[in-house]
């Protein structure tokens, strides 16, 4: 599927893994952390972006600004957007939630984002990959970029998830098995009835963490559910691509969903994954529900189910950050926000929240955080002496309730 997609973008009949192609880009995205450098680089090589309707600027990591430096960066990016006639500047949530909502993540497109979790859009059947600021500038100037065609790996999800087990537990288990560099340069393609049954949000969670194994992109073939999501939102015409029945894969792996139990990635490695029950009882100071991995309405609903009518543990700060304005409004309408806030959670503005340690919810030395985000590297969320455990929204909520890491099936 990845090869077919890149062949089409490179104007070729077919391409082979390892081949380097120059591909036409459909959408480029920058955020408030990577954008300023990309704009500076662009100015060195071109006066105008190749197509302002295909450039998307997102403020999400530090929005609204929490320092004069980032305020200056936001200002510089707003001016750039005005000068270039870029109308797609959004400051209402995380890039990886807002691009799909606004109709930029579509089947068959090639999307480059100056953010490593750009692979999230593979959930819609697009070839989407993270690049740095300079590569983004080169793509913005010409609408093209050279890419190495990745080997494809097929991951078949079979069967059904058990009670209070989620796509996050599936991807954590896979990261644990494959390792933090086990899929470097590869394209992961999720197949099988297990992924067909997953919501769009669940598929986004899977693809989002592809990069935590080093993958270049992660893909799910579009189906009726995808079409229903993109139909009213699509900004551009698009053409679906799916793999040939006889497609060849560098590797294949099958995962039986019914055997998976709630998982947690322990400090300080994303692939240090264990069942929650093995580390149950570890006391926590902070619980973070949000991020591009798990900050969607369905994630907030699962947490609210656990916390409804109850109070979180008095020692725990629970931070809830909806991934976008659309998520926020939907959760408000459903009464989910009220249930979470009544339980004692603090609500943050839609965006990246505590994930990157540069905004809200920073950790002190020795503190322990359970988080629904995607990275637990040392120092990621503040002090290098703090510890981060990655888990599903339900595990985050159950742990906030008890004040210690808790299997959500027990509450």
């Amino acid at each position: 599927m990845a090869e077919k997609l890149l062949a089409r973008k490179a104007g070729k009949e077919r391409v082979e893994p390892g081949e380097i192609v120059e591909a036409r880009v459909d959408v480029v995205m920058m955020n408030d952390i990577t954008g300023p450098l990309a704009i500076e680089s662009l100015r060195e090589i071109a006066e105008r972006v190749w197509d302002p309707s295909r450039v998307v600027i997102i403020f999400d990591h530090q929005m609204p600004a929490n320092s004069t430096e980032i305020a200056r960066d936001h200002d510089m990016m707003r001016k750039f957007a005005r000068e270039q006639g870029i109308e797609n500047l959004f400051a209402e949530g995380i890039c990886h939630q807002v691009l799909p909502e606004k109709g930029f993540a579509l089947p068959g497109l090639l999307i480059l984002g100056a953010d490593s979790h750009t692979c999230t859009y593979g959930a819609f059947g697009s070839f989407a990959t993270g690049v740095g600021s300079t590569d983004l500038a080169a793509a913005m100037a010409s609408g093209r970029l050279w890419l190495r065609v990745p080997e494809s790996v097929k991951i078949v999800l079979e069967g059904k998830l058990g009670r209070r087990v989620y796509p996050k537990d599936v991807i954590l288990q896979l990261v644990g098995e494959i390792g933090a560099d086990g899929a470097t340069y590869q394209a992961l393609e999720f197949q099988g009835e297990g992924v067909r049954r997953m919501s769009i949000g669940g598929r986004m969670t899977l693809c989002n963490m592809g990069v935590e194994m080093g993958a270049k992109t992660a893909l799910v073939a579009p189906d009726a559910l995808t079409r229903r999501y993109v139909e009213k939102r699509a900004r551009f015409p698009f053409k679906e691509v799916r793999s040939d029945p006889k497609a060849e894969y560098a590797d294949e792996r099958t995962c039986s969903l019914s055997r998976i139990e709630p998982q947690v990635a322990c400090p300080h490695r994303v692939d240090n994954v264990k069942p929650v029950r093995e580390v149950e009882g570890r006391e926590i100071d902070q619980a973070f529900l949000g991020s591009c991995t798990n900050g969607r309405t369905e994630d907030l609903i699962e947490a609210a189910k656990i916390l409804k009518g109850r109070k979180i543990h008095p020692r725990v700060r629970m931070l809830v950050v909806p991934s976008s304005r659309e998520t926020y409004l939907e959760a408000l309408r459903l009464g989910v926000i009220e249930r979470l806030v009544r339980a004692g959670a603090i609500l943050g503005p839609p965006g990246c929240g505590a994930c990157m340690g540069s905004y809200i919810g920073v950790l002190a030395p020795g503190e322990v955080c359970v988080s629904s985000s995607n990275r637990n590297f040392r120092g990621r969320m503040g002090s290098p002496e703090a510890e981060i455990y990655l888990a599903s929204p339900a595990t985050v909520a159950a742990s906030a309730l008890r004040g210690k890491l808790t299997d959500p099936r027990e509450v």
């Binding site: 430096e69 960066d73 953010d115 740095g132 600021s133 300079t134 590569d135 560099d181 990157m356 990275r375």
Partner: protein, 161 residues
């Protein structure tokens, strides 16, 4: 002669430059915080041209291009690792920071030993111990980008020709 700074596996871009420093800054300012969680005091002890020797998956995580910029700003001359995360590898070349893949390099060095390397021939030498390791030579077009000082200067110079 450049000296080695030896690091382990899976050094993340959060290790190289923490998220709180990512607002627009000069390479020199970023360099003051390079690797500060992993090697406290690194930026004041590193000498211009010193080489980072690391294990597998160097530069994993975020796509922040501030990571190679911070290393360059601190004075690092090259990174030689068993393997790299793909976004970091591209970003390093684009910023003109030499990177080279060399199997077994981590075990061949201790911090402080003298390093010599040849990007074109793909060779790394530990002059202190007198040993040599074969690395993967860089393709010509990447060497040209590095020689120009990064992708932007490279594109500009090509435009002039």
């Amino acid at each position: 002669m450049p000296r080695a700074w030896v690091l382990g596996d899976d050094v993340s871009t959060d290790d190289i430059i923490p998220g709180r420093y990512l607002v627009k800054r000069s390479p020199e300012e970023l360099g003051k915080h390079a690797l500060e969680n992993l090697l406290p005091g690194f930026s004041s002890r590193v000498k211009k041209g010193d080489v980072i020797i690391a294990g597998k998956n160097f530069g994993c995580g975020s796509s922040r291009e501030q990571a190679p910029l911070a290393l360059k700003g601190a004075g690092v001359g090259a990174v030689i690792a068993e393997s790299f995360a793909r976004i970091f590898f591209r970003n390093a070349v684009n910023q003109g920071l030499p990177v080279m893949i060399c199997k077994g390099v981590k075990a061949s060095f201790s911090t402080g030993e003298e390093v010599e390397y040849d990007l074109v021939r793909g060779v790394v030498r530990n002059l202190t111990r007198g040993i040599e390791r074969k690395a993967e030579p860089l393709p010509d077009f990447l060497v040209s980008i590095l020689r120009a000082g990064g992708l932007i200067p490279y594109l500009k110079s090509r435009r002039k020709e």
